[in-house]
């Protein structure tokens, strides 16, 4: 404890001092969402308080670059006797806004909180839900560069919770660095770029959120006797594939094929594609979910689903089998993609999680942008005319345009 006055008088230092954090070091880059999971009392909140400067670390350093806002407790600064309106101003000023800045955001804050006419009532008349909604609304309108969130997304009703998550995603998109502590592990999987599991103040695992969450779940669900290590029997050392899980059920072989069963590596936009997984069961299961995720090379999730989300209730998984995930038309824009395949329990504990097990390239002769290419066509009525060839020349390298001009009469009609 860094207390100058107390240094000489040992009697007055706290009777029992516990070090809440030991050797915790990590970096969260600008614009990154960093999740922290762990049991109660593992030091998560202390860590956030240290980052925010509320607490000072006994040893070690914290470097923070940028305006920081901490949601340790929503509405912590509210005074019950004065109105919501007045509290918005005071809370905003506490979080570092000027009066004028709050003026310009006031309507957005009230709108977001959904408090409505209660805004001019004393805060003591609010329900606890309204209280936290207002607190969250103020905090996210501060425009922080770094936002620390402690377990606050668990509050409020389902609708508001969705709204919070959407807002957090928006902040992330705008380049806000997020550090958040939560017990809602699917939020970590969904929102975070990286995660850390703290146990008794020490870092147990750090890195890919799905993996960290899974390590944590494995531990929480009571140390399963580690069954035969996740089968290296497919023997191909996938470059950059990450794989983890308990190994009770294994995805032995995962391939991408066309509708006729031929293996694919590259495909055209709109092709019919099948993900095929050979499943090997070492310990029979009653609780199992198969999942597929498709990611763009930049890391953004194109699509993810699993049997549980689609309402398939697990019956019995007794022995080997094959799972086929059929996509009659994979409408993606040209680029490199990867597929994650997993089999796990319904609460997310992985039997076998294979991140990036498949990589494939989608080719296209049209240089459209984005990820998803809806089936579409252009139609023009009236006096709108195009000279299609010119457009094509601009969009593709010259030799190819030359080739296309000769061979295809209607190149601009995509499908």
């Amino acid at each position: 404890m860094k207390s100058a006055l107390l240094k000489r008088d040992l009697k007055l230092t706290p009777e029992t001092s516990v070090s809440a954090l030991k050797d915790v070091s990590f970096v969260a880059d600008r614009g990154e969402a960093f999740g922290i999971v762990g049991r109660n009392g593992s030091g998560k909140s202390t860590l956030l308080k240290i980052i925010s400067g509320i607490l000072k670390p006994t040893s070690g350093i914290v470097r923070v670059n940028g305006r920081i806002a901490a949601l340790i407790e929503l509405g912590a600064g509210f005074h019950p006797e004065i109105t919501g309106r007045e509290n918005i101003y005071i809370n905003g000023i506490m979080l570092g806004l000027s009066r004028r800045e709050i003026d310009s955001r006031f309507d957005a804050i009230v709108e977001f909180s959904g408090i409505g006419d209660f805004i001019d009532q004393p805060v003591k008349t609010y329900s606890s839900g309204m209280y936290v909604r207002l607190g969250f609304a103020v905090a996210v309108h501060v425009d922080p560069e770094i936002l620390l969130i402690d377990e606050v997304l668990a509050v409020g009703d389902e609708e508001f919770s969705q709204k919070c998550i959407a807002k957090i995603q928006e902040l992330k998109y705008r380049g806000v660095t997020l550090v958040f502590v939560t017990h809602q592990l699917d939020q970590v999987r969904m929102l975070c770029d990286r995660a850390m599991w703290l146990d008794h103040g020490e870092v147990t695992s750090i890195g890919d959120p799905a993996r960290v969450v899974d390590d944590y779940l494995q531990d929480v669900s009571g140390a399963m006797p580690a069954p035969p290590s996740p089968a290296p029997d497919t023997a191909k050392t996938e470059i950059e594939e990450e794989r983890w899980g308990s190994g009770e059920v294994v995805l032995k072989r995962v391939v991408l094929t066309d509708s006729k069963g031929h293996e694919l590596v590259a495909l055209g936009a709109g092709s019919a594609v099948v993900v095929e997984m050979d499943v090997d069961v070492r310990v029979p299961q009653d609780d199992f979910v198969f999942g597929i995720g498709i990611y763009h090379a930049d890391g953004s999730c194109v699509y993810g689903t699993n049997t549980d989300l689609e309402g398939l209730l697990p019956g019995r998984l007794d022995g080997s089998g094959r799972v086929r995930f059929l996509m009659p038309s994979l409408d993606l824009v040209a680029g490199t993609y990867r597929i994650d395949a997993a089999v796990h329990t319904r609460n997310g504990r992985a039997f076998d999680y294979r991140r990036g097990v498949l990589r494939f390239v989608v080719g296209s002769r049209v240089h459209d942008i984005g990820i998803y290419r809806p089936k579409h066509e252009w139609r023009f009525d009236g006096k709108i005319a195009f000279r299609e060839i010119d457009n094509l020349k601009r969009n593709v390298p010259a030799p190819m345009a030359e080739y296309l001009r000769e061979n295809e009469p209607k190149p601009k009609k995509k499908s």
């Binding site: 404890m1 509320i54 340790i72 600064g77 006797e81 004065i82 007045e86 101003y89 979080l95």
Partner: protein
Amino acid sequence: MNELATLYRYRQLLAALTARDLKARYRGSILGFFWSLANPLLLLGVYTLVFTRFFPQQVVTPYPLFLFAGILPWTFFSAAVLESTNSIAGNAGLIKKVMFPAEALPLVVVLSHLVHFALALPILLVAMGIYAAMGQVTISPTIALTPFLMLLQTIFVAGVAMTVASASVLFRDLRDLVTNLMQLGFFITPIIYLIDRIDSRLLRALLRLNPMTPFVVSYQDVLFFGRLPAMSDALLMVAYALVSMIGGIFIFGRLRDTLAEAI
């Protein structure tokens, strides 16, 4: 003077919190602000009765006006210091859950009591006007010095408030100590009597050691007696204000980092 720069940045916060404090205090009460006057007025009534009816000797006239001039600054001092002992512990939520400049808390207490003081002054002026109309006093231009006295006193009170606010988080006993000292303080400050009328030279010297003495005496000078404060009192006020503020900043700075954990 890092702290002062920080405070300047937080001036909006101080203003907003002070306004909040005042609003929250009076919301829902019918008499509102007048409650903050109730105590000084009660004291005024009691001591006027005691010294004009029970022991009707040695007093200056009009005694109520003399009392009023001393009670107001004393109330400002004692209420602000007393309340600041609880200002940090009473706002544990802010210190532990929000990134919050802790020094704002005792200062807000001081500012809101300064507002009370300022709001009570017009009442004193009206009373002076009434006595002047009856020919018992003359209003002197020295009352224009009151704002300067208030400024010096506010700096002094703020320093003391910062000290007791931070120290009482670590030493809980300080609150009880301060409460009792304030009771004593009222009597060792020349509010209900004139220091010059005391026979014992030693006692006079001791009373002069009380840092509130030059402040109260100076208020009485400019408001009641219509004369300039003694040079010695003026120097003492400046000295006390500086020592108190520097000491307050120093002690608060030393303790600040432990506050969030100690509450």
